[in-house]
């Protein structure tokens, strides 16, 4: 019998390459004649380029050419990002690029370019843009709708409310309600109202978004750092307006993205266009400093929240208003945050209002759990306070309010395929010993106070309808072609497991093909929103079933009888009950002889058009399994993580030491336990950084971000997290997907961060410090009863 593959720990096939230095990331590729490009970054947050003098630079040794904004794609008349611009909308936005024989020559030439900038008004804080006569991020206004810029300002009366710490009634861009919040609040036994603030923070993947590109035979060879692969190829082709089959994408490894490198990133255009212009391979090496600017950030929130509870802990009503700091090009986090608030606390009565304001800060993008992570991190301290005032246990309050599978949430009453949030809470509470740790809550030793906390975090975890593509070759092995990016989640390997099991193969009989579009990639999801595990375990399941059926048919046609007379195991198809058999190597050769659908010369009608070129490329090479995921399903796919933390808060220093952490997930069937644990704990650690260690600081006078590097905007280090953390899974399959697996990337971030903010609130005796980051200065200000700065940019230490 072939071994069991789903649910076992198998070291990923790419691991040896990763730990011997053989794995090539984008900046590790070289090409003959390669030159280096450097970017000139805007020194101001909003400006217009009046003139550029490149005379001195072009005369310098080694300098080849300069690429200007008018040579790249520009998006006119609406907020849209160009790779180079003459109207920078944030400090650090690239203005032009220089190519030179050496990187130092390019850098020296940048210094010799004289740019005449006309400074323009700028805004960092969305509330400033909403103030009467406040500045706008764009010359034409602060919002975009109906095809044009306009201006939205709140009134002086709105700002009087804000300054008094009350919920404003300024005009919102988005509003939805369910139930009757006024009645519900009047009937509530406890109503809490808080202003809540979440910072904006950069993604800072370890690998900056460097890229090397050249053109050969009319095709672009692009060596890039990207979360996805097949979809990135199409994104690059779209930016350059060329035939996707003229892009050869090489993206074998990606040193992290976390939402900042979903497919084609804007600045990939620079080496693509520049190398075409000068006829030389161009390496655009992005430094950490540059990554801070162009590498994306999570949007910040300034919000007001009113929550009503019944005496038994039932969350009766939520009134939530979010003002989002969107950067120059927008982001959708605030809408998701409203949905997630409804999903986690299931009030029967809710009003959500939100407005996203353009700001002249580095661009925003999805960051692991976009919107969801922010809102649970900010709301959890309020739940702590409510439980304390009602004399209830937080676990009970969560269990009372957490949804079941019949939940309907958000403005469209969205439904879900499965929900095991309560099971995750209960299992986590057991491992953490939540009941036993109650007595530690508030324990004081010297200046240190212990706090315990819970975070419950859901997020999207699946999509449907992509294609699987695989070939059993005459080497007898199953070659599974993955169009996925290799971003550290091991999903290239783990979503292939169902196909191996369907064909009763051992794992060493499977070869994975990825990272090079010239080897054939089927239509794939982007590696974002935790879709991949769900989407591609399904797609590979479908293609595996197709391959299985074809193997049985080939056996029957070759050896006689009908397909149902045959079975397969360990790379051999055989007649049930003994008799004739064939190896998969023989099946592959026979499939090539038979042709037609067997070797991929005839393809199913329903596969995506973008799978067809890849399948055509592989036709005739063996027995092809190719199919679209038609398994269907109704409702959204969400996974959950319940996090539990124990902290010690030092009231003398404001430092919070995280002593213990446990996280349990509901993400359906577990494909790869060890990798799942890494996703759950790693994501939780990122959430801890979001809640406590990373901090972006702006100078409000000049609009310049400080804390631009890893040391100053600091992700957690190994000494910042508990020495032993525990992760586990509920492990109940999702009923609507054949493999039962849901994704996991997003929800741990909110769980890790919220368990911390909840534990800090507990250590502070139910004091609601609903803001991030909880750095020592912010905690000390609160302990000393000082007024907290509300504005995002005033996080200046």
């Amino acid at each position: 019998m072939a071994e069991k593959i789903i649910g076992t720990d198998i070291a990923p096939q790419d691991l040896v390459a990763k730990i011997t230095g053989r794995a090539k990331y984008a900046e590790d590729f070289r090409a003959d004649g390669m030159v280096f490009a450097k970017l000139l970054l805007s020194p101001m947050p909003h400006a217009r380029v009046r003139g550029v003098d490149t005379t001195r630079a072009l005369a310098m040794p080694g300098v080849i050419d300069i690429l200007r904004a008018d040579e790249v794609r520009q998006i006119e008349g609406r907020p849209g990002e160009a790779s180079l611009t003459d109207e920078p909308l944030y400090e650090g936005q690239p203005i032009l690029a220089v190519a030179a024989e050496t990187e130092e020559q390019a850098a020296a030439a940048i210094e010799a370019i004289d740019v005449d900038f006309e400074p323009l008004p700028f805004v960092l804080d969305p509330l400033d843009s909403l103030r009467p006569n406040g500045p706008n991020a764009y010359t034409g206004g602060n919002r975009f709708g109906g095809g044009e810029f306009s201006e939205l300002k709140w009134t002086d009366a709105d700002f009087e409310e804000i300054e008094a710490g009350r919920m404003p009634n300024g005009e919102a861009a988005v509003e939805w309600t369910k139930g009757d919040i006024d009645t519900a609040f009047s009937e509530s036994d406890l109503v809490l109202e808080e202003s809540i603030v979440h910072q904006s923070l950069t993604h800072h993947p370890m690998e900056p978004r460097s890229a090397m590109m050249y053109w050969e035979n009319g095709k672009l060879h692009a060596f890039v750092s990207t979360q996805s692969a097949q979809r990135t190829k199409y994104a690059i082709a779209g930016t350059l307006n060329i035939d996707p089959e003229d892009v050869i994408l090489v993206a074998e490894y990606c040193g992290g993205g976390f939402g900042s490198k979903i497919s084609g990133n804007t600045h990939m255009e620079v080496p693509a266009v520049f190398s075409r212009k000068i006829g030389r391979p161009v390496m655009l090496r992005i430094t950490r400093y540059e990554e801070n600017y162009i590498g994306r950030a999570r949007p910040g929130f300034q919000s007001w929240l009113k929550m009503g509870f019944l005496a038994d802990g039932t969350c009766n009503a939520i009134d939530l208003y979010i003002v989002q700091e969107s950067g120059p090009f927008g982001a959708g986090d605030f809408n998701t945050a409203g949905m997630i608030a409804d999903l986690v606390y299931t009030p029967q009565n809710m009003r959500f209002r939100g407005i996203a304001m353009y700001t002249n800060t580095p661009p925003k993008a999805a960051q692991r759990g976009p919107g969801g992570a922010q809102i649970v991190i900010m709301m959890e301290p309020i739940l702590e306070k409510a439980a304390r005032e009602l004399g209830l246990d937080r676990l009970e309050v969560h269990l009372k309010n957490a949804p079941d599978a019949d939940v309907g949430f958000g403005p469209r009453n969205s439904t879900l395929t499965s929900v095991y949030a309560k099971e995750a809470l209960e299992k986590g509470a057991e491992i953490f010993d939540w009941a036993g740790k109650q007595e530690l809550s508030g324990r004081r030793e010297g200046s240190k106070v212990t706090g315990i906390g819970i975070g419950l975090s859901p997020y999207t975890a699946g999509s449907r309808g992509y294609d699987g593509l695989m070939v059993i070759r005459p080497d007898g092995k199953l070659h599974i072609h993955q169009g996925l990016g290799n971003l550290g989640t091991h999903s290239i390997m783990d979503t292939a497991r169902p196909a191996a099991e369907i064909l009763n193969l051992n794992w060493d009989q499977v070869e994975l093909v990825w990272g090079d579009s010239s080897r054939g990639m089927p239509r794939s999801s982007v590696q974002a929103g935790s879709q991949t595990t769900h989407a591609h375990s399904r797609a590979n399941h479908a293609a595996g079933m197709d391959a299985r059926a074809k193997v049985l048919e080939v056996a029957a046609q070759t050896l006689g009888g009908s397909p149902s007379n045959y079975d397969m195991d360990n790379g051999r198809v055989f007649r049930r009950g003994g008799g004739a058999s064939m190896t998969f190597a023989q099946v592959a050769e026979r499939a090539i002889e038979l042709g037609g659908k067997y070797d991929g010369h005839e393809l199913p009608d329903n596969i995506h058009a973008t799978t067809v070129p890849a399948a055509n490329m592989l036709a005739g090479q063996g027995l092809m399994g190719v199919a679209r995921d038609n398994y269907g399903g109704s409702g959204g796919v969400y996974s959950w993580v319940a996090g539990f933390a124990l902290v010690e808060l030092d009231e003398e220093t404001g430092v919070v030491d995280i002593k213990e952490y446990v996280a349990v997930t509901d993400c359906g069937t577990v494909l790869h336990p060890r990798s799942l644990g890494a996703q759950v704990l790693g994501g939780s650690v990122q959430g801890m950084g979001q809640a406590m260690t990373q901090r972006w600081v702006f100078d409000p006078k000049w609009g310049v971000p400080f804390a631009n590097r890893l040391y100053t905007a600091r992700p957690p280090g190994i000494l910042d997290v508990p020495l032993d953390m525990k992760a586990d899974a509920v492990g109940i399959p999702d009923p609507q997907t054949p493999v039962g697996a849901k994704g996991i990337g997003e929800p741990p971030v909110g769980a890790g961060g919220a368990a911390l903010t909840s534990a800090v609130a507990d250590a502070m005796g139910g004091h609601c410090l609903c803001r991030t980051p909880l750095t020592p200065d912010i905690i000390l200000m609160e302990l000393e009863g000082l007024k907290q700065p509300f504005h995002l940019e005033q996080h200046i230490g």
């Binding site: 990923p12 993947p205 550290g488 890494a678 704990l681 939780s684």
Partner: protein, 209 residues
């Protein structure tokens, strides 16, 4: 939160101060930080070399003759002159440890040492850990396989070099001591729990040799 900063070994054995002094002595930093501080890697086609610039380095047990500029960092020499691209650049400013290599057995940031300062030293990079005759993985590498270590793994070469230094110095660490030994390396995926499992497994393998 850890109050100790994660500079660790670098502070005592090879300080940033020494690096900066070295940079000042040769005029400008030649790393890759960016034009705003007047420095960048001296990469690609070279300006004509001089006899003094051609130096001998001992890397992974091999003598390598390289034409090195006076202000060039070790990480740049490894990556762009010797094509040893396993040594990664995550920050180029001693913040992340992705460029960690062993210099005479001590883990050091390759981005923060001038190549000229390691003449006469023995350098080991991630490419030099496997047994050169058999191709067998080092015991630290084997420990990472055993524990299924790392996610995106851009930090992995640096961590593995620090783990190698750790097991050589202290093959019997507590989990806390292992964390301290690795505190000069940053993993943005936050995979510290599994990284510590790898380090403890490596120590276990080292003890059984």
């Amino acid at each position: 939160m850890g109050e100790a900063e994660s500079v660790g070994l670098l502070e005592t054995k090879y300080s940033r101060r020494k690096f900066i002094k070295g940079v000042i002595a040769v005029g400008a930093t030649a790393s890759s930080a960016g034009y705003f501080i007047g420095g960048s890697g001296l990469l690609g086609a070279q300006s004509p070399g001089t006899a003094e610039r051609l130096i001998t380095l001992t890397i992974n047990g091999q003598q390598r003759r390289v034409d090195v500029l006076p202000n060039e960092t070790l990480a740049m020499t490894l990556r762009y002159r010797l094509n040893l691209t396993g040594t990664k650049l995550g920050c180029d400013r001693a913040e992340c440890g992705a460029c960690t290599v062993l210099v005479d057995g001590v883990n050091q940031y390759g981005c923060s040492m001038l190549t000229n300062q390691v003449r006469g030293s023995s350098i080991t990079t991630i490419e030099g850990l496997e047994n050169p005759d058999t191709g067998e993985l080092s015991l630290v590498q084997q420990a990472v396989i055993d524990e299924g270590g790392f996610q995106c793994a851009f930090c992995a070469p640096g961590f593995i070099m620090s783990m190698t230094a750790m097991v050589n110095e202290n093959p019997n660490p507590t989990r806390a001591e292992a964390a301290h030994a690795l505190s000069g390396n940053l993993c943005r995926c936050g995979d510290y729990d599994k990284i510590l499992n790898c380090a403890m497994r490596a120590a276990e393998l080292a003890r059984s040799v």
